[in-house]
């Protein structure tokens, strides 16, 4: 969690599982309502006052055949009385609603952890589908864990029998029965879930009733069943959070809101041109529901039309925004070049996913960094920034709009599937604070001495005159333009001068962004962990834990990828060793080496579709400081 979300800059760091924090993973068939169960549990924990982080992990198929391993959906949540920034490396509790869910998720469970299964689902057919030859409930598969096998399906059916609903609908309440039991295990109330169920099914009261009955029954089971004491073992008090109004939010939520806030602070209409693609579509969905606030969303025929419509909107005086993921961003490449050449503001969000090509659409990765910085024809510089968490997305959204409008440039904002989907508690910002001071755009209206490529001497931004303004009629385009008149120019020296101006304008932005700071730890020392994007949480917890253990390590995290903060080389030069964990094959390392040949960087790479574990980074710290 960034400092912003909690005014308390550094709440305690989680050290001991089941004391400081508990990690629970709900898993089941994609049809079992797992994502919903997880979200409700998160919400309840939030309202109780825990800090938490979540990680939804759903299959690529819309709805794979029931019972198969590739149809398993999971939702991990880590709740704590400390700062919680990741969903946790290894769950302490695994809820598995069928054999396939057990099969897939058991390898992650902490040794000694708790497994809660629906024994009713362990039929021969389901076992076969999951690839179990004998039932894991009967062999020694679960020997190292505490296993609680309950006939959840039958209990659920029994719990709603009095309502006379169909068998299918009855069984659909299984997740609520389970949630009821889990809430009891954690000593949490059911009110907020009940309220939510009533709201969600307000048109189908009988379904609401059934779900509530199941929830209550699961809870009652905890209270009364024999294994009670064994079960009720998790008592995580609230985290010491700063006062304020909170809500849970995913990175998609906060980013959409941040981009909208940015457009308002700039005084511009927000026009989103987008084409659906996993995991970026949620941004389109959220902004589509903000028409009442003046947001225009346009589902274009493809990504090229999406970015082009955003460019057209910017040309006409709105803030053009386009959102996509890797393959879609690739398609936008040519048009981004036009925005660079025409020097129009444009915000391009890339919610990264596993690549190359279609790759792993539902898995997270950070492998589009070099594409963002270098991936265009010609010398075509843009601004690149990266958000480090769901919380950070809000501020990054505003920052992207600020840079795009003040410097008349496209800005690429990188997030990823992990940030977009993970939910965190989020302290609602007070927009009247000074950090949210407006930065209104001033359109050019004075015809005196006007030409379209007239530059502000300070920012090198060209003036922005929009169609509809009398006397400023002009023509722009993607051909090279004269530095002095803005007309098409094939002149040699002019091309050199314009190229320099474009490159110089972007590099000059380094003077208008914050200097790099050390996120946690000393400003110098034997070791720094340097990260960018969604590795933030894992690095921060690992570094803070290590420091608690008296290890001399610091955490540096980049938001501004291009241009780089002007003091970055200095900051990095104060550390003897620098480890760079990335969810790619070493892209930030490549970029930084090209800029700071003197800084020695040690890449630490992982490309398996999963975020870093805190323990992986901790291990790297220990190894580095031992070695």
């Amino acid at each position: 969690m960034t400092a912003h979300a909690r005014a308390h800059p550094h709440p305690p760091v989680p050290i001991t599982p089941e004391v400081d924090f508990v990690r629970i993973r709900f898993a089941g068939d994609s049809g079992d309502g797992i994502q919903l169960t997880g979200t409700r549990f998160a919400e309840t924990s939030a309202q109780f006052g825990n800090d938490f982080a979540t990680f939804p992990d759903y299959p690529a198929e819309i709805r794979a055949p029931a019972g198969t391993t590739y149809g398993v959906s999971a939702y991990s949540i880590n709740i704590g009385k400390t700062e919680i920034l990741t969903s946790g490396d290894q769950p302490d509790v695994l809820v598995a609603l069928n054999p396939a869910a057990l099969k897939i998720n058991l390898p992650d469970l902490r040794r000694g952890g708790t497994v809660l299964v629906d024994s009713d689902s362990f039929t021969a057919k389901n076992l076969a589908k999951a690839g179990y030859e004998t039932s894991p409930l009967e062999d020694d598969t679960l020997a190292q864990f505490t296993t609680i096998a309950i006939g959840i399906s039958s209990m659920t059916k029994a719990s709603v029998a009095h309502l006379g609903i169909g068998a299918k609908d009855a069984l659909r309440c299984k997740n609520m029965w389970t949630l009821g039991l889990v809430l009891w295990m954690f000593g949490r109330g059911r009110q907020s879930v009940i309220k939510w169920l009533n709201a969600k099914f307000k048109d189908k009261p009988e379904i609401a009733k059934a779900n509530i009955a199941a929830l209550q029954a699961g809870n009652a089971f905890g209270e009364t069943a024999e294994m009670a004491t064994e079960l009720r073992r998790f008592s995580i008090p609230p985290a010491p959070v700063e006062s304020g109004v909170y809500r849970t939010a995913t990175g998609a939520d906060t980013l959409a809101w941040g981009l909208y806030a940015g457009s308002r602070l700039a005084g511009l209409k927000l026009v989103l041109g987008s084409y659906p693609i996993t995991p970026a579509s949620t941004l389109l969905h959220i902004l589509s529901r903000m028409g009442d606030l003046g947001v225009t969303t346009f589902q274009a025929e493809d990504e090229i039309a999406a970015v082009c419509s955003a460019i057209g909107a910017s040309y006409a005086g709105a803030l053009g925004l386009t959102t996509s993921s890797g393959p879609g961003i690739a398609l936008k490449t040519e048009a981004i070049g036009l925005a660079i050449s025409a020097e129009l503001p444009l915000v391009i969000v890339n919610v990264q996913r596993g690549g190359p090509s279609t790759g792993l659409p539902t898995k997270t990765e950070q492998a589009d960094l070099l594409q963002a910085v270098f991936g265009r024809n010609g010398d075509a510089p843009v601004v690149v920034i990266a958000a480090s968490s769901a919380n950070d997305c809000f501020d990054c959204g505003i920052e992207a709009v600020r840079l795009a409008t003040q410097f008349m440039t496209p800005v690429i904002l990188l997030t990823d599937g992990y940030i977009a989907n993970a939910a965190e508690p989020w302290r609602i910002p007070d927009m009247s604070e000074d950090r949210y001071a407006p930065f209104p755009v001033k359109f050019r209206t004075d015809p005196e001495g006007y030409h379209p490529f007239l530059r502000d001497p300070e920012t090198l931004a060209r003036s922005w005159a929009v169609p509809g303004t009398p006397g400023l009629e002009h023509r722009i385009g993607g051909l090279e333009k004269d530095y002095h008149s803005g007309n098409v120019s094939y002149d040699r020296d002019n091309h050199q001068r314009m190229t320099n101006a474009r490159v110089g304008k972007i590099l000059g932005i380094a003077n208008h962004i914050p200097e790099q700071t050390v996120d946690f730890g000393e400003d110098e020392g034997p070791l720094a962990i340097l990260g960018w994007g969604s590795t933030y949480g894992a690095i921060r917890i690992a570094v803070r834990r290590s420091i608690t253990g008296d290890l001399p390590v610091s955490h540096v995290h980049l938001r501004h990828i291009w241009p780089l903060p002007r003091n970055l080389e200095r900051v990095l030069s104060r550390f003897e060793r620098i480890i760079v964990p990335e969810l790619n094959t070493g892209q930030l390392t490549t970029l930084l080496r090209s800029q700071y040949p003197k800084i020695r960087l040690e890449p630490m790479n992982k490309v398996n579709g999963q975020p870093f574990h805190v323990s992986e980074i901790e291990a790297a710290i220990i190894k580095a400081l031992e070695g």
């Binding site: 909170y246 308002r264 005084g267 041109g273 947001v295 048009a335 036009l338 009247s432 385009g477 007309n487």
Partner: protein, 349 residues
């Protein structure tokens, strides 16, 4: 339509920019430019509210030569960029200048969708049946057998008929004219501008350098009356140098035929009467071509319906933007709180 009666009457010249026109001498584009400048002068169109958006190609240089706002974008994408312009500011008059390569080859998909969505823009397709700017390769509208640098043995693929395509894509205004019809072009351009929704205008345009005279039989004074038919709403489909040829439907079928009034007992009453709102007739007209039929010119189809912008704004889907250019802090805070404070918040004291 941004048309008004200003203090000082603007002339066609006032719609020309200060940039030297750089087409080949003799290029048909000059005539189209002139016709457009005349049209806007006739209408006293507001230059500041007029925008020309183009892709890449000789024809796409068009915006540079108009004194309005102009955006010379990238190859094939003008319809998408124009859509964005209209989303940001529906009040602008947006014209798209595109070529047969720009609009029918690389840009075919955007063309389909801007038509289907019925965005209120005017699309001018400069069809010279060739790639001019890149030195003469054949295009998707080139006739089979066209010899070009990329088809030295003659092209093999069947061309697309832009007007048929526009209809098939759901276009609600489809018209055709030629660069030789200096009086007809302004009429069509005016109609296109008046039409609410996407208007598609194919202009047969001569590329004197790479495809000279492909339209000769359709545009030369001595041949045109027999090879073309000028359609007008409510009027019978009559053509021919003697004005005695016409089109009728073979009775009991859907099959058109050319007949001569006064021969075989055919009277004018037997002829098809042009109806701009008849999609079947329009489809048929777009496919007419010599030698069997005369090429149809004029407004082939015009059946207005709500434009995309009207739907977006008329239905209140998108609210007006509060305080554009003002960034009133209190209003911003209030609006943001509307988002933030939707159910599901909790307070920590």
């Amino acid at each position: 339509m941004n048309v008004s009666t200003p203090q000082v009457k603007l002339t066609a010249k006032d719609y020309a920019s200060d940039q030297e026109v750089r087409w080949c001498p003799g290029c048909g584009d000059y005539a189209i430019l002139k016709a457009m400048q005349k049209t806007l002068a006739d209408l006293q169109a507001k230059r500041e509210n007029t925008v020309f958006v183009s892709g890449i190609g000789c024809s796409s240089r068009f915006p540079y030569y108009m004194s309005s706002y102009g955006f010379h974008t990238i190859h094939g994408r003008a319809p998408a960029i124009a859509t964005g312009v209209k989303l940001a500011n529906p009040e602008l008059d947006v014209w798209i200048a595109t070529g047969d390569g720009d609009g029918m080859s690389i840009g075919g998909n955007h063309m389909l969708h801007v038509l289907r969505r019925n965005v209120n823009v005017q699309i001018l397709l400069f069809n010279n049946e060739i790639y001019g700017l890149t030195k003469g390769q054949y295009s998707p509208t080139s006739r089979p057998g066209t010899r070009s640098p990329s088809t030295p043995g003659g092209s093999l693929d069947s061309p697309v008929n832009p007007c048929t395509f526009a209809l098939g894509s759901g276009g609600r205004f489809v018209a055709r004219t030629t660069d030789k019809l200096m009086k007809h072009m302004p009429v069509i351009f005016e109609r296109a501008l008046a039409h609410q929704g996407a208007s598609f205008v194919e202009i047969l345009q001569n590329c004197i350098i790479y495809n000279d005279a492909v339209f000769e039989n359709l545009t030369e004074k001595d041949q045109a009356p027999d090879t073309t038919i000028m359609v007008e709403h409510g009027k019978p489909l009559v053509f021919g140098s003697d004005g005695d040829k016409g089109i009728r439907i073979k009775p009991g079928t859907l099959v058109p035929e050319v007949v001569t009034v006064g021969q075989d007992g055919v009277t004018e009453a037997d002829l098809l009467v042009h109806n701009e709102k008849d999609a079947t007739l329009a489809h048929m007209l777009t496919t007419f071509a010599p030698p069997a039929f005369p090429l149809a010119l004029g407004v082939l189809y015009c059946d207005p319906t709500e434009s995309f912008e009207e739907r977006i704004h008329g239905h209140g889907r998108v609210a007006d933007v509060p305080d554009v250019n003002l960034a009133d802090r209190a209003a911003i805070k209030a609006d943001m709180d509307k988002i933030f404070l939707r159910p599901g918040t909790w307070e920590v004291k």
